[in-house]
Amino acid sequence: MSKVVFDEAKCKGCSICVHFCPKKVIQMADRINAKGYHPAYLADEGNCISCGICGRMCPDAAIEVFKP
């Protein structure tokens, strides 16, 4: 299971999670989701520190964060 779980259907591609990620491990995908947005995804799980900031800042309640 990934440290950061995205509910891709709810993502509107605002990139707030990308901006505030302290480790810059989130990126916007090139593909588009059903809403027509580029969804965010965890590009570098190894460097993710499970701080939870992306989840707290996501306006669309599309992110949940886990710590191993």
Partner: protein, 251 residues
């Protein structure tokens, strides 16, 4: 794995109608987290405004009433008086609360009505397409102040938190910002404190949330958050303007 951040249970699972990057969604989550923490979902009754949050009732998993423009504090008063043990909150924007509903919010505070008010200040009318709000900054361009809000013509933006803090019945009044992780964490604490104030019976509580409107400001979401911090916070200082203990920590 241990869950570090979970979507609050008091939120409905569906996607919101808000524009990408709009901070309404963050405010919704903070309210829902507070309801979860306090375990009051089954006695929470929300009041939705007219404006972008008109459909707030679709997103919270609790009873709701939808109020006429600006009248949410009066509707909440009616609910509060009928259901004494309910946890009653209104969720209102700046046009709704600070313009057409100015009388209702002042008098709800004046009565010390035991309700919690989440006041979203994004300095613009969102739903109707970006017109000038009572909170629009001087010089800020909107669709009805195309050359920028002019002080001599439209007057100065209204500082709701400071104004309500002069009212004895307003037990807790704070202004927070939804523009950064640190500010969101403070916003969460303030919203929790507002609900705690209601539950303790101390009186009226309001949290003014400085928010972004990327669509009507014509900015990308991050750019809007930066604009908020640079332009709104200097005019709308963050802090607690009144607490049940009598303290204030603004500026």
């Amino acid at each position: 794995m241990k869950q570090v951040y979970a979507v609050p249970k008091s939120l409905q699972p569906q996607a919101t109608h808000y524009c990408p990057g709009c901070t309404h969604g963050i405010a919704h989550k903070l309210v829902a987290e507070t309801i979860d923490e306090l375990g009051v979902r089954d006695r929470a009754i929300g009041v939705a405004p007219v404006g972008c949050a008109v459909f707030a009732y679709d997103y919270f998993d609790c009873d709701f009433q939808q109020a006429a423009h600006g009248r949410a504090p009066a509707v909440a008063t009616g609910i509060r008086r009928v259901v004494p043990d309910a946890v009653v909150f209104t969720y209102q924007g700046d046009g709704d609360l600070a313009s057409i509903g100015a009388a209702e919010i002042i008098h709800a505070a004046m009565r010390g009505e035991r309700i919690s008010v989440i006041f979203i200040n994004n300095a613009v009318y969102g739903m109707t397409g970006g017109q000038m709000a009572p909170t629009t900054l001087v010089g800020q361009k909107t669709t009805t102040s195309p050359a920028g809000r002019e002080l001599g013509h439209a007057g100065s933006p209204i500082r709701i938190a400071e104004m309500l803090a002069t009212i004895p019945g307003a037990a807790y009044v704070a202004r927070v910002s939804l523009s950064s992780p640190a500010n969101v964490a403070r916003a969460k604490k303030a919203i929790r404190k507002a609900f705690d104030t209601q539950l303790s019976g101390a009186g009226f509580s309001l949290v003014e949330c400085l928010s972004t409107c990327p669509t009507n400001w014509g900015m990308a979401p991050i750019e809007a958050m930066e604009w908020l911090e640079k332009n709104m916070i200097p005019y709308y200082p963050l802090g607690e303007f009144r607490t049940p203990e009598g303290g204030a920590s603004n500026g």
